[in-house]
Structure formats: C-alpha cells, structure tokens
C-alpha cells in the first residue's frame, strides 16, 4: 500500500484505464480512459447510449467493470460496491431521481448519513435556503414535481461531504436561476478539493463550469481536453459524427402539397392538463410539426386528443365528427392513432412476441376467435414494409435493438389503419440508419394521404419533415410556422418565447 493521502494534489481521485463493460453481448463501454483530479470539474458529453451513465454508475459501484482498471485515490477499485464507494467518498446524483417516494424529503436526503440528526437537519435547512429551493422537509418525495425531486437528489450529494461527486444531468429540470445557484455550490466544493463529474447536454453550461471535457461516442472517448480548446462545431461533430448522416439531413422534405387535402383533424380552443387555447387543423397528406421544449404541453395535448387524458374545454373534430369524453378505443375507431413517446413504458409489450405487439391495436375489430395465421401473415408483410430485422415473429420484443423496437411500434400503429397519425418522438433512442428509414417512411405515409402530427424535441427533425410547425411555449401556442419560415432558429426562438430569454439573461 502506498498510503497516499487523498488530498495529495498529484494523486488523481479517479483514474480509469481501458474500461470495458458488456450488457448481454453488447459492449457499452469499449476501452475508456478517464482521469479526475482534486478540485476539478470534468464534464462528460455524448448522445443517448454513448455510455456516460454506465461509466458513472460503475464509479459509484452500481455496475462491476468487465475489463480494465479503475483506481480511486490511487487504490484499486475494480471490485467496488455501492457500500465501498460510499466509504471512498463517492456520491452519484443519478439522471433519473432514485428517491424513496413514500418517505419525507428530510429522510430522503439524510437517509444513511452518519451524524447527529439535529445538526444534519439544521445544515440541510440552511442548504435549502442557500440554494433557493422552496420545499418543506416533511413533504413526501413522491408528491414533488420532477424539478424538486432532482433538487432533492442534488441536496443528497451536497450534504454527504463527498470527495468525488457525480452529477448526471443535474440541470435538465432546473430553472436558470437554480442552475446558477448550483454552479456556485460546485465552485465552492471544488475550491475545497472535491472532484466533480458533470454530465450535461448543454454546451453553454459545460463551457461555464468545466475544466476538462470528455466526449463519448459508442462507448469510447473520442475527444478530451479543456473546453476552450474546442469550437462548438468540433464538439458537435465529435458527438454526432456518423457516416452517411448527410444522406438524409441534407435537403428539405417534399414541399407541402400544392393543394391541401380534405381536413382530417380539427382542434378548437382545446385546454387540458398542461396546455390551453390550442387551435389548429390538420389535412390529409400534411405533416404538422408540434415543437417546444420538454414540458411545454405537447405530449399532454396529444394524449388528450387520443383520449388518455380528459379535456377541460374546447373541441376535437375528426373528419368533421366531434370526439368528446372519449377513450383510446373511440379514437382508434375514429382513425386516430397515437405512437407514445416512451416505447418501453406505454408503447410495447416487451416480453410478448412481435406478432402480438403488431396486432394489439386491431384485436377488438376481429372476432373472439383469434385468426393466428392471418396475424402472422400480416406481420410478415409489415416486416417487409418497414424493414424490421428479426429472426421470427415469435421472439419477444426485448430481444430487438432499440431501432427495431421502434419499427415494431410503428408497425403496431400502422396496423390500425390510421387516418390521423400522432407520432410522439418517433426517433428517440434509435440509431442513424433507422432514423433515416423512419424519415423516409413518414414522408411516404404523408405522400399517401395520411394526416400526421409530429411531436419532436429535435428541431432539426421537425424542420426536416414538417409542412407546418406549431410551436408550444409553456402550454400555450407560441406561433405557427409555414413554408420557408420553418428554420431551426425560428423554432428555437418560439419555443423559448420572449419571457424565457429575459429569464435566462438575468
């Protein structure tokens, strides 16, 4: 044992060498090197599935590494468990809050923290006041909004006197003001020699707070160094560099049909859970983009049209016929089909055979006796149509890759024979090739006269596909863009609205 002191400025807090990790037969990390020194903020950037969260969970002891070397304060930590990670002073603030929903805020933060309860509570109260979070200690964590839950997670990390703090997208639900406060705390901690891993998708934040940035792609570090040595373009290129991307991002979608088809969907003054005053119409052969930041009421609007959530005011007309106090079944019968944003949770039956998934929306139209052969035949047709890669229709959905799962979800929606198709984040978590397939499919479906409402957080995607774009801002329509007005900049401007700009400028 070298007996190195943890405060030794020359011993890195964390040193990862050639780390590999497999989930099943898929390599999630492929030889990652990474170093965190005392007093340093090390930012990690990368797309979904790049391996950032896996790497961080490994350092916190939640995953065991498969190959490579992990040193914490100079000592071997390849057999780390959450318990030993805790002893080494490591705390992870996870991306998805992992709180105890039935317990109070206080218990959530202070659970398993050694020390005097009273003192800890006093410290927690000052900390909450300092960071400007408005929550009472006795509230049940499950009743907090997502932003507050995230704040509780952060407080957990701050109160533990961690030497190595890992923040996995801590700012995604916070207001600019709260982010400012958080950064003050981070600077205070680094001044005391704490090392911080900071994961974020926001380049501005990384430039502001990070000393080092590592960019991960497909489980490998593709770029590393001080943020100021790279331009934005270099960083984005490193993150997203894929062969063949130009093939589908270049060029605009086919121009809007010269003559509008008949009106398929009409929404008048609709209000519901998280949005109000929404009016638009959607015609056959048209792709209407519905843009806006997460939480702007887009999904809630779609779910209200589909009949999952109740409408408070306003009207929904499908081909002239009103839909009110309806459920999904009525919507399906009227020809409205919704592709949910979270395919694992609300879209697919992941343990069921592909065939069962593909026929799930049309079961009620058939007879009580299942036409098993017909079902199978229909599905083979869809395999061809959508290019689903699978061994057989009997294999469970979970054995497919994300992209193929998404295609199965599309197959399920298309099997219902939609007249109006609502697509909520149709390309989330799929690889580039599948993304291109899905874009082509959407174009083709519109060309065949389907009316499509496209919800997406990817402004590029909205710009590429839509004939018109409705931008939502904090639950209210922020504006409608048409034709050449549809640019990424215009969408971004409208989604943040004027108010948000002022907010950010403060």
């Amino acid at each position: 044992m070298a007996g190195t002191s943890p405060t030794d400025q020359h011993t890195p807090l964390v040193e990862a060498r050639q780390i590999w990790k497999f989930f099943g037969s898929i390599a999630v990390l492929r030889g990652v090197d990474l170093t965190l020194r005392p007093g340093e903020v090390h930012a990690l950037l990368g797309g979904n599935g790049a391996g950032k969260s896996t790497l961080m969970k490994m350092i916190a002891g939640l995953h065991r590494l498969d190959r490579g070397e992990l040193l914490v304060c100079g000592e071997d930590a390849s057999a780390m468990t959450p318990v030993t990670a805790r002893q080494a002073g490591i705390h992870l603030v996870p991306q998805e809050p992992m709180l105890f929903p039935s317990l109070s805020v206080e218990e959530n933060v202070l659970m398993h923290v050694p020390g005097n309860r009273k003192e800890l509570r006093a410290r927690l109260e000052t900390m909450i006041a300092e960071i400007g979070a408005g929550m009472t200690l006795s509230t049940q964590a499950g009743q907090l909004e997502v932003a507050d839950q995230q704040m509780v997670e952060i407080l957990r990390g701050l109160i533990r006197d961690a030497r190595i703090l890992i923040l996995d997208e801590p700012t995604s639900a916070l207001t600019p003001r709260e982010v400012g406060k958080l950064f003050e705390r981070i600077r205070a901690l680094t001044a005391q020699g704490v090392g911080i891993f900071f994961i974020s998708h926001k380049l501005g934040e990384i430039r502001e707070i990070a000393d080092i940035v590592s960019i991960l792609r497909d489980g490998q570090v593709v770029l590393a160094g001080a943020p100021k040595t790279f331009s934005d373009a270099e960083i984005v290129a490193a993150m997203t560099h894929v062969e063949g991307k130009e093939g589908f991002t270049l060029g605009h979608a086919a121009a809007a049909p010269a003559e509008r088809g008949p009106e398929r969907l009409r929404v008048e003054g609709l209000a519901g859970e998280g949005f109000a005053d929404v009016t638009f119409s959607l015609h056959a052969g048209e792709i209407l983009g519905l843009a806006g930041v997460v939480g702007s009421g887009r999904t809630e609007l779609a779910e209200t049209i589909y009949g999952i959530r109740p409408a408070a005011r306003g009207r929904i007309l499908v081909e002239g016929k009103p839909l009110s106090s309806h459920g999904p079944r009525d919507s399906l019968d009227a020809g409205v089909v919704y592709l949910p944003e979270d395919r694992q949770v609300s879209g697919l039956f992941v343990n069921a055979p592909l065939v069962w998934n593909a026929s799930a929306l049309v079961l009620h139209r058939g007879r009580e006796w299942l036409p098993l052969a017909q079902e199978r035949a229909d599905f083979s047709e869809q395999i061809k149509l959508l290019g689903i890669v699978c061994a057989s229709g009997d294999q469970p959905v979970r054995t497919l890759s994300g992209g193929n799962q998404q295609k199965v979800l599309l197959a399920k929606c298309l099997a219902a024979g939609p007249r109006v198709l609502i697509l909520d984040e149709p390309t989330r978590g799929v690889d580039v090739a599948v993304r291109a397939d899905i874009y082509r499919l959407i174009d083709r479906l519109a060309g065949e006269g389907l009316a499509i409402l496209l919800i997406s957080s990817d402004h590029e995607e909205v710009e590429r596909l839509s004939h018109r774009v409705l931008v939502m801002n904090h639950g209210y329509p922020g504006g409608m863009l048409e034709g050449s007005d549809i640019t990424i900049n215009a969408i971004a401007r409208l989604s943040f609205g004027v108010g948000a700009n002022l907010d950010a400028a403060q």
Partner: protein, 355 residues
C-alpha cells in the same frame, strides 16, 4: 381535513373503529365498558401483536411472509418436545426461537439472494415447515407441559401476565426501532426503492434477510406464547395465522407495496381483529360471526382508503393544471373543474363501458 388526517394517520382511523366497537359494547351493557375488557382483549391479542410486528418489518421491505403460521407451529413443537424431554424452560424456549430465526433467514435468503418472489418462496416454506412439525411430533399432540411454562401467560402484576409485559415492551421497542433507528429506516428505504437504497450504500440484501430473520424469530415467540396459553400443542398450531397477521398490518396502514407503515398501526389492527372475537363473546353472539365482520370492515377500510387516495390525487392533479383548466380561477367554471377532476382511468373505462 379530518379525512386527510385519518388518511395520513391510519393508526387514528383504526383506533376510531376500535372505540366504535367498544361503544357498541357499552350500549348493550354498561358494565362491560371497563379497563378489564381492554386488558382482556389485550391478553387475547398477544400472539397477533407479535406476528404483526414481524409482518410490518417484512412488508416494509416490500416483502410478504405467509409461512409464519408454520414457523409458529414448529417453534411450539420444538419447545414442547424439549421441555417434555427434561430441558429447562429457558433453554427450550431459546432453541425454539433459534429455530424460528433460522426459518426466517432461510425465507430471506430465498427472496433476497435467489430472487424468488416472496409469496412463492414463503408459500413453499409454509408447507415445508408444517411438514417438519408433523415429522417432529410424530402426528401426536404434545401434552403435559410444565406448569411453570403455562404460568408465563397467567395473569400476574397489574392484571398482566409476564408474557403480556414482555409483549408490551416489545411493541414499544419495535415501534421506536422501526421509526427512529438507521436499521429501521433502512427497511422502509429498501421497500420503497430498492435500487435507490443500494445507491446510497444501504446493504440491501442484508437488510431484507434480517427483516425475514427477525420475523421468523418473532413468529417463534408467538408459537411459544401459544403453547403456554393453551397448555398443549396440536399439530395445527398456528395454521391460518399468516392471513390474520397480514390483515392486521394492512388494516393498520402497512402497505404491501413497501415503504409505509408503523408498528403502532399494525398493533392497533391486531387489537381490532381480536376485539371482534372478545366482543362477540361478551355480546353472547356466536363466534362464527367473527370472520365476516373482520372481512367486511377490512374491505370497507381498504376501499375507502383507496377512494380517498384517488380523491387526493385528483386534487393534486387539478392544482397542478389549474392554470390551464380553469383560467378564471376557482368556482365559476364548475364544468371545467369537474372535467378536470375526472381521472385518467375513468375516461378509459367510460369509453369502454359504452362498448
């Protein structure tokens, strides 16, 4: 607001129901309304109290143990055989408790280490342990237990038997431990969010196994109390107690989904279950009314509880979206408010019902 209070403090609602039961008793015959009746019911509840403490711990970790009745029987038989073989009373009880602990730890290991679902694992051990009862006893009742052993449950100081005092201490200690100690809270944390508990460095498996182990130990104690109370040990000792223990805890506000509940609540639930029995006897009603009353009240409490929780959720949801749903603020737009209060599920079901 009273409803909110009762929902938050399930102990209070059970206490109310108990008071109500006693009130009925008082209406029928004033003389029954005495501290003696309260003590009588307490004395009859001892076994269920002990089991309810264990059930609370296991349920807090999002577990379930249906084998407790068999552990009870096994411990009683072991203690009885040893005593009749000439062992001392403390040593016999000690071995019986140890056996209970081992049975509980085995349950815990199945659930925690082998990932078998709690109900399936303990369903298996329910049969297994009961079989051991029959093997050990050779199918015969165990009789002729020492008088000193039976005296443990005979009324003593202040009208309470030594065991009754022990159970009282146990209830208080368990309540405080589960509420205020790190281990107690860890059980709730594990039940509320297993991954989350692991993340903050709680030894999840150990906590779970410990909860089952303690539950086994307590079930064994219940078995010993049972043997002392009735003075002999039938092969069926403890059968069906698992359901009563779980029902008591649930009634007292312990959630089967883990993370919530108190020993106090579970104890009140157990007290209630027993008071029906005792009160029926006092009212000179046949004992066969017991289960139907217990079942009906359990269901009423559970369904009301569910309904209140739903109403609270609607209210929270309405508050969250009020700005969109009801821009003219509260009151005037009754229609909109009503529409907003309709939950997600209802909309699904109304459309379905019309089919």
């Amino acid at each position: 607001m009273i409803i909110r209070f009762l929902q938050r403090h399930r102990e209070a609602s059970v206490a109310l129901i108990i008071v109500f039961l006693f009130a009925i008793l008082g209406l029928v015959d004033r003389s029954y309304l005495s501290f003696d009746t309260v003590l009588l019911v307490y004395g009859n509840s001892l076994i269920l109290f002990v089991l309810a403490i264990g059930a609370t711990m296991v349920m807090a970790t999002h577990g379930l143990d249906v084998s407790v009745g068999s552990i009870m029987g096994l411990a009683a038989v072991v203690a009885g055989l040893l005593m009749n073989a000439g062992w001392g009373i403390p040593a016999s009880i000690g071995v019986a408790l140890l056996i209970g602990l081992l049975c509980g730890l085995f349950n815990g290991a199945l659930v925690s280490l082998l990932n078998v679902s709690a109900i399936v694992a303990t369903l298996g051990t329910l049969g297994l342990y009961r079989g051991l009862v029959h093997l050990l006893s050779g199918g015969a009742w165990i009789e002729g237990l020492p008088e000193n052993f039976k005296a443990l449950t005979k009324a003593g100081s202040l009208g309470l038997s030594p065991v009754a005092w022990l159970v009282l201490v146990l209830l208080i200690v368990a309540h405080l431990c589960l509420r205020y100690t790190a281990f107690g809270r860890a059980m709730f944390a594990v039940g509320d969010n297993r991954e989350g508990a692991r993340l903050i460095g709680i030894r999840v498996n150990e906590v779970q196994i410990a909860a089952y182990g303690l539950n086994g130990l307590l079930s064994a104690l219940a078995g010993v109390i049972f043997a002392s109370q009735i003075g002999f040990i039938p092969n069926t000792a403890g059968t069906g107690m698992e359901m009563r223990a779980i029902a008591s805890s649930v009634l007292g506000g312990v959630s089967l989904l883990g993370g919530t509940g108190t020993v106090l609540g579970a104890a009140l639930g157990a007290y209630f279950m027993t008071s029906i029995d005792s009160i029926l006897v006092l009212l000179r009603l046949e004992a066969y009314w017991n289960d139907i009353i217990a079942g009906a009240i359990l269901l009423v409490v559970l369904i009301t509880d569910g309904k209140i929780r739903e109403a609270v959720d609607h209210h929270l949801r309405y508050q969250k979206y009020r700005k969109f749903i009801d821009p003219q603020a509260a009151g005037q737009h009754a229609d909109a408010a009503k529409a907003a209060a309709r939950p997600l599920n209802t909309t699904l079901e109304t459309s379905e019902a019309r089919k």
